[in-house]
């Protein structure tokens, strides 16, 4: 008998996310973001969240929608431009932000998914990122000790998935989704196409189902493009 992770929709998937929890959200810019779950979080109105995500969306899409509703207490990200509401809340002191190098963000997620309590990275050595952190020299080079993230939920978006939780991504929408999927204490995956076990090639699975706790087929994906750029 097969392990079945399917839930009906985003509302059911996020039903037990509570005020004050820490949530990882996959995506890079607006590419590969869990649109359905973000909409459900906005509808549910959960607040005081700490969000770990590479970016904070734009004013009217992605995590920007949660910022509009003042649902985010703290943002951990590598880049938060392109968002006027974010800037307003930050300057007014409503929002706390922790900016970390993009690779450090990726590795701190990966560490959680690999059961590693911490990792070493050279990123940030000699900069303000290193303040208060342990520096260690290996073979003549300095590294920062960075700890694994500890998130209550990870919410990711894949291209295809099966009901056992196996995920396949498309293009550059893989980005942080794989490591976050592996890192959440509870991981929710929304997919564009949900299939039966056996329909996905085992050799092409990007995230094995063991990491996924809930999965559903999303709907009405807008997949907004932030900077459409065309060859001249």
């Amino acid at each position: 008998m097969m392990i079945n992770k399917e839930v009906k929709n985003a509302e059911e998937a996020i039903v037990d996310i509570k005020d004050g929890q820490t949530i990882m959200l996959g995506g890079f810019g607006l590419c590969g973001i869990p649109e359905n779950c973000i909409a459900a979080l906005v509808k549910k109105g959960v607040t005081n969240l700490t969000c770990i995500s590479n970016n904070a969306g734009v004013d009217d899409f992605g995590i920007g929608l949660m910022l509009q509703q003042r649902q985010v207490k703290k943002m951990i990200a590598s880049y938060v431009g392109e968002n006027a509401e974010f800037e307003r809340q930050l300057l007014s002191g409503e929002l706390d932000v922790e900016l970390i190098p993009q690779g450090t963000l990726a590795f701190r997620c990966m560490a959680a998914g690999y059961g590693m309590p911490a990792i070493f990275t050279p990123a940030g050595i000699g900069t303000e990122v290193a303040i208060g952190k342990e520096v260690r020299n290996f073979n003549g080079k300095d590294y920062l000790l960075e700890t694994a993230f500890n998130a209550d939920f990870a919410i990711v978006k894949a291209w295809k998935g099966d009901i056992t939780g196996n995920l396949i991504f498309k293009g550059t929408s893989r980005n942080f989704n794989t490591m976050m999927a592996m890192a959440g204490k509870i991981t929710i995956a929304e997919v564009e196409e949900l299939v039966e076990p056996g329909e996905l090639d085992p050799n092409q699975i990007h995230v094995p189902g063991v990491y996924i706790h809930r999965i559903f087929q999303g709907s009405n994906y807008e997949k907004r493009i932030e900077k459409k750029t065309i060859s001249k």
Partner: protein, 219 residues
């Protein structure tokens, strides 16, 4: 004085055959347009792509395929996709031969500042701190002076640092300079029509001038 396109064109000459290159946002992105046909090069986009091609046609646009600047792009034959952990893993393992990026300031010992201006909204360092911490070779594309005419090639950076002792070469609107391991900007080439004296006045950090300084050649 060089315009942005000319700076990009000059930097393109630095790209070695059979190399993997990461291009930052701005002028560095333009470098891809000037790679000679006989040079094999593969561009990495740190959001998870090797083998980045040109911007798409209207028909090719795919929301699931963007570069690290969030622009829509295409893939060349031989491209590969991966997640951000592997992407920064290959950066830190020094599999990327060359990083080209912009800077607000560079110091004479190779420190770089390009992510934060105190008092202004801080958008974040993105992948820049990772790239400068690990790249085997870093070339900076930047303006030699700010809009008030003040040098951005300094004894020490005044802005918060992105990385230390990492910049190897600088191409500005005025000159090509190497950052020496022992410190100092060594003047290698002048922009067409720019005098050594102009470069001297525009460089606050230690400038090293040895012998005749040639004008840049572009091909």
């Amino acid at each position: 004085m060089l315009d942005k396109e000319a700076i990009a064109k000059r930097i393109a000459k630095e790209i070695q055959h059979n190399s993997y290159v990461n291009l930052g946002i701005g002028i560095p992105t333009l470098v891809a347009n000037y790679i000679p046909k006989n040079i094999a090069v593969c561009f990495q986009s740190e959001n998870g792509l090797l083998g980045m091609g040109p911007f798409p046609t209207e028909a090719e646009v795919d929301a699931d395929l963007i570069n690290a600047g969030k622009q829509t792009i295409t893939m060349l034959p031989g491209a590969s996709l991966f997640d951000s952990a592997m992407s920064f893993g290959m950066i830190h393992a020094q599999k990327i031969d060359l990083t080209i990026l912009g800077a607000m300031e560079v110091s004479e010992n190779g420190d770089i500042a390009n992510w934060k201006i105190p008092g202004k909204m801080v958008k974040g360092m993105g992948g820049a701190m990772d790239l400068v911490a690990s790249a085997k070779n870093i070339i900076v594309a930047m303006q030699h002076v700010n809009k008030d005419g003040e040098s951005k090639l300094l004894p020490n950076c005044t802005l918060p640092l992105t990385g230390i002792r990492c910049v190897k070469k600088i191409v500005t609107e005025l000159a090509v300079l190497a950052v020496l391991p022992e410190g100092g900007f060594k003047l290698l080439e002048r922009a067409p029509g720019v005098s050594v004296d102009t470069i001297k006045k525009a460089t606050l950090g230690k400038l090293i001038i040895e012998g005749e300084i040639p004008e840049m050649a572009f091909d």
